[in-house]
């Protein structure tokens, strides 16, 4: 892991946009933005080599602040737009930033079918367990018994495990990390960018202003401490017994496989069809 100083980050930001950014004090979205820019700076991509696509939500304000080719699209449809960008220009490194509600509730179908196609996108899903921007409605990833504005007596739904969903749908790179482990996040995002195929990175984040306040989880440093204590590495998690696994979640790279990539297969198909000579060709 290479140390990227903060002045490198400022080269990738759009300084004509309004700073400080719109996110609440203590929101982890800024940490994810920093780790993403550090990963890109570590690989050494130019600004024009990257495209960042997002939907609607708190996390989806991220492309506004970075100086790549960016698109701020419809709610939940970011992966569909990114698929179009990747198919039209396969040389671009397309990155999708979505929230948990954006990716799993409204855009759930786009997510699983992009996983199935194994198209070379990097999806960074920022999971803060709630719809933060619209005032705290419960999302598919809100934990059981947690309080949201539309679930004032506790959530009765079961939790959506996005990593298991994407592994089942056929993504070839699936990882989970937290906002506290920023160094690990940088290396995982870098591995996701360099992976040839669909890579899904779930980043567990703290939402101290809406989710933390509703569930009385304390201020931003306390929520970061909870993230540090409740997400253990995958090797450690497998050694725990059933009682110790209560309240603990694994993090790390769950799946990393090599499989044929969609835009390459499409190019090969076009080439094979164009090489066949028809009746009119001489």
């Amino acid at each position: 892991m290479k140390k990227i100083p903060q002045k490198e980050i400022h080269k990738y930001l759009r300084h004509n946009k309004k700073f400080p950014h719109v996110w609440c004090p203590g929101c982890s979205d800024g940490i994810v933005l920093g780790a993403t820019i550090r990963a890109i700076a570590e690989i050494g991509w130019e600004k024009d080599d990257c495209a960042m696509v997002s939907g609607i939500g708190c996390s989806s304000r991220m492309p506004v602040y970075v100086d790549f080719n960016t698109a701020h699209t419809l709610h939940g449809r970011a992966i569909a737009y990114a698929t179009g960008i990747k198919m039209a220009k396969p040389s671009l490194n397309v990155c999708v930033v979505t929230g948990d509600g954006d990716a799993s509730a409204i855009g759930g179908n786009h997510l699983i079918h992009a996983c199935r196609r194994n198209i070379n996108l990097t999806v960074i899903c920022i999971n803060n367990h709630i719809y933060g921007m619209t005032g705290g409605q419960y999302s598919p990833t809100t934990p059981h018994d947690a309080i949201a504005t539309t679930m004032p007596y506790g959530n009765i739904d079961n939790v959506f495990d996005l990593c298991k969903l994407t592994i089942g749908a056929g993504a070839t790179f699936v990882a989970r990390t937290t906002a506290y482990h920023a160094t690990e996040m940088q290396s995982i995002i870098k591995a996701g960018f360099e992976h040839n195929g669909f890579s899904f990175i779930e980043v567990m984040c703290a939402c101290p202003v809406i989710y933390g306040k509703l569930n009385k989880q304390g201020d931003a440093p306390q929520m970061m401490r909870d993230l540090r204590d409740s997400y253990v590495p995958l090797i450690t998690y497998e050694k725990l017994n059933a009682d110790e696994k209560q309240g603990q979640f694994p993090r790390g790279i769950f799946k990393n496989e090599v499989a044929p990539e969609y835009s390459e297969r499409y190019a090969a198909l076009v080439e094979s069809l164009q090489s066949v000579k028809g009746e009119g060709d001489e």
């Binding site: 140390k3 400080p20 203590g26 940490i31 920093g34 920023a182 940088q186 440093p221």
Partner: protein, 99 residues
Amino acid sequence: MSEKVEKNRDGLIIKQADTPLKMQVEVNEVKYEGDYRKAPVFIFHDWCKKCGICVAFCPTKALGRKLDGSPFVEHPEKCIHCETCDKLCPDFAITGAKR
């Protein structure tokens, strides 16, 4: 200072000073003086949102918090340039890198 006594709808007495009270906030002095390029930690206060993450996770407790919540370098000699505050600051408002 004279005090104005009023009664509200519930009959409770409210004492109100004539002159509006000024907010009194004590601010600790930053100990380090000199060229900011040579300071161990540089804090960009225009972008800081005072969330307190950098102070909470500084491994050597070099940072402190003013009464209004904003960070300052309490012990400049303790900084080991680990850049934890760089990575955990959501607002890119602090850097502990060697300059």
